[in-house]
Amino acid sequence: MKATGRTTRRRVLAAGLAAAAWPARAGARTTLQVAAFPLVDEIVRAALPAWRQRHPDVAVQIVSRQYADHHTAMTTALSTSAHLPDVMALEASYLGRFSLGAGLEELSREPYHADRLRDRFVRYAFDQAVNRRGAVVALPTDIGPGTLLYRSDLLARAGIGEAELTPSWEAYVEAGVRVKAATGAYLIANAQALKDIVIRSGIGPGEGLYFDRQSRVLVNSPRFARAFELARRVRRGRLDARVSAWSNEWAEGFKRGTLATELSGAWMVGQMANWVAPQTRGLWRAAQLPERTFVGYGGTYYAMPRRADPARKALAWDLIRLLTLDRERQFAAFRSQDAFPALLETHDDPFFDEPLPFLGGQRARVLWRDAARRIGALEVHKQNNFADEVVGTELDNVLDRGKDIGRALADAERLLARRAHR
């Protein structure tokens, strides 16, 4: 094929020019290149002393870029097979896309045998790194178990306890009505967040979130209709503050106590305590998501590019094992960056029983540990990002422009069907 021929010619030219241009770099010491983004780069940096003990003659160079820039750079590097790092950190939402292609090294083979490591990790996190062909392409290092955070004081004023909030999504919304009436606080920042979670409950086997294995569109279904109806009920009852996550108004809502609950990953507690709303310390509690929905919010993985320099692959694998399988490293990351460990053997540590001051002394880590084990892995389809947008836009049409739910879902289905096989 033309592309390959050109590539070969260019490789020869590159080799010649590189040899001429970089004589100084051909040293005897090996250097591993790790590509990451904040704050994973800090986690890797913190592991360097331990690495130096194992491999004193192997240096590690960390190339850190902003989150989106990093993934763009990784896409570029993988697409041209040039300047690939030896280890790349990937966020969970990007892993799906990257695992669909053939760019990542398959770790289930010799000499890695990563499939033998399945039982050492939180199940869904490991499964998320298994691609369509059944090969493991990455190892998880941290996870984001989904949790419900609520203001116990606001709920108390409305005479509601956790038990009324969580039996079902409908009950959650009803509780919101009562909270609004009694305290004036919104139930949730945005009805879109509610839709995002409710569509994740009731997924059948062989189904992904928006598409099934044969790329059929699943959007025009009861699962979505229910999510849309609940979101509409929230919007009509003025139960959501209509602010987008991470915006000024959103943070302000937490600071002023106008937002009563938040559906997010466990790491949100750390963010709230640090800068979003530190003054609301002690007023929040954590619970499992309503209707026993178990969902993951983000997470980080380490992978190796298939076309990286083979001479360093064994070392790269060693580094990945250090970062993911070493109890000390997992805990260090947990303590310093609030990175919830994916390694199961850390989960029996007394650290999990510690009370969290922000949550009024609640031992929430136990809750999250429990949730982590029950989350199910979701199949990722190439067009998931696009589907996210389309469904979100149609929901906006339903919420703001009074569009009929049936028509909205049908329109979404039509748009998605056109792209499902690209």
């Binding site: 094929m1 033309k2 592309a3 390959t4 590539t7 989106a68 993934h71 763009t72 990784m74 896409t75 993988l78 697409s79 041209t80 097979s81 896309r97 990257f98 669909l100 292609g101 053939a102 760019g103 990542l104 209509r242 602010v243 987008s244 915006s247 000024n248 108004e249 302000e252 076309r307 190439k382 067009q383 990002n385 696009f386 947008e389 836009t393 906006d396 049409n397 703001d400 748009l415 056109r418 690209r422």
Partner: protein
């Protein structure tokens, strides 16, 4: 860098005939284009006919003929992005020139002492980086406590507007920001051009009894024509390729109902969010055709004089 210096020195001693001179002068552009411009053009043209999952590497391309073009032409979002682009290009572009020309004239004729400072003030937005702009404007346009809404309420008693959240508002917000950013740039261009209009033309006209308005219409505007052609072409091209402001202000997504998703933003998303490089290439070439057509129309409208006077 050293090879080039000795080349220029050598050329200084060589007698260059007027016949070859223009080619020599244009050669740096040609060389750079040959090395850095041709391959990306050909690559992207080639890619427009392929289906490509980028992370699998270069050899994963599959020929799909006109499939990407057909997809693009039937894609609702492609047409939506073109509409958004047209709206934003006009809404931000026209005022830029409509305001920049009178402003430049005012600054040119009056304002002799404060001119530097005033022009500087208008030019500052052009200098500001997009990161800073994103943060500042999301604060300024904030619904409940942004200064824009506060000012509107104070001056006109308007209820707070959700600028960044609602599709119908985000377009004007972005148009305002683009206008803010490039007005000063156009003022500087027109100021430079106003200097090339000889003073005696104005003096002669004044002697003939022509008032300010007639002088403006019959001397200034025609004199500004080459610069207007330049400025308007840039605005057309820039407007059609509008990327940074909508991208940064909507966090890379294009806003609610994709209202701020210009064609350039959509292309970026096709390539890096939806990993559809083949589709993105096909669309960029379709967009290219549109831009060429509009640039040509602009050219016809202004019909610049060839070869000086």
């Amino acid at each position: 860098m050293r090879p080039r210096a000795s080349l220029t020195a050598a050329l200084r001693n060589v007698r260059l005939s007027p016949r070859w001179a223009p080619y020599v002068f244009v050669s740096p552009f040609l060389v750079l284009f040959a090395v850095f411009g041709v391959f990306p053009l050909l690559f992207s043209l080639w890619l427009a006919f392929q289906s490509w999952e980028p992370t699998s590497g270069l050899d994963a391309m599959e020929f799909v003929g006109l499939g990407n073009f057909a997809f693009a032409l039937q894609d609702e979002w492609f047409w939506k992005s073109l509409q958004n682009t047209a709206w934003l290009a006009l809404a931000s572009g026209l005022p830029q020139h409509a305001v920049a020309i009178p402003l430049a004239v005012l600054l040119h004729q009056g304002f002799t002492r404060l001119r530097d400072v005033t022009v500087g003030a208008y030019f500052l937005p052009y200098i500001t980086s997009t990161v800073a702009i994103a943060i500042m404007f999301s604060s300024l346009f904030s619904t409940d406590f942004g200064l824009v809404n506060a000012t509107l309420r104070a001056l006109l008693g308007i209820e707070p507007v959700d600028w960044l959240g609602r599709p119908e508002h985000i377009k004007p917000a972005i148009a305002v920001i683009v206008f803010w950013r490039y007005l000063g740039f156009n003022v500087v261009l027109y100021l430079a051009a106003l200097q090339t209009i000889p003073r005696d033309l104005y003096e002669a006209a004044a002697l003939d009894g022509a008032g300010r308005w007639r002088q403006f219409w019959h001397i200034t505007l025609p004199g500004l024509k080459p610069m207007m052609f330049f400025g308007v072409t840039l605005s057309v091209i820039g407007g059609l390729q509008l990327f940074e402001e909508p991208f940064i202000l909507t966090g890379g997504k294009g806003g609610a109902d994709q209202a701020a998703m210009t064609s350039a933003v959509y292309l970026y998303r096709m390539a890096f969010d939806f990993n559809d490089f083949g589709g993105a290439s096909a669309m960029s070439w379709l967009l290219f055709v549109v831009v060429v057509a509009l640039t040509w129309l602009t050219h016809r409208a202004f019909a610049p004089r060839r070869g000086g006077r």
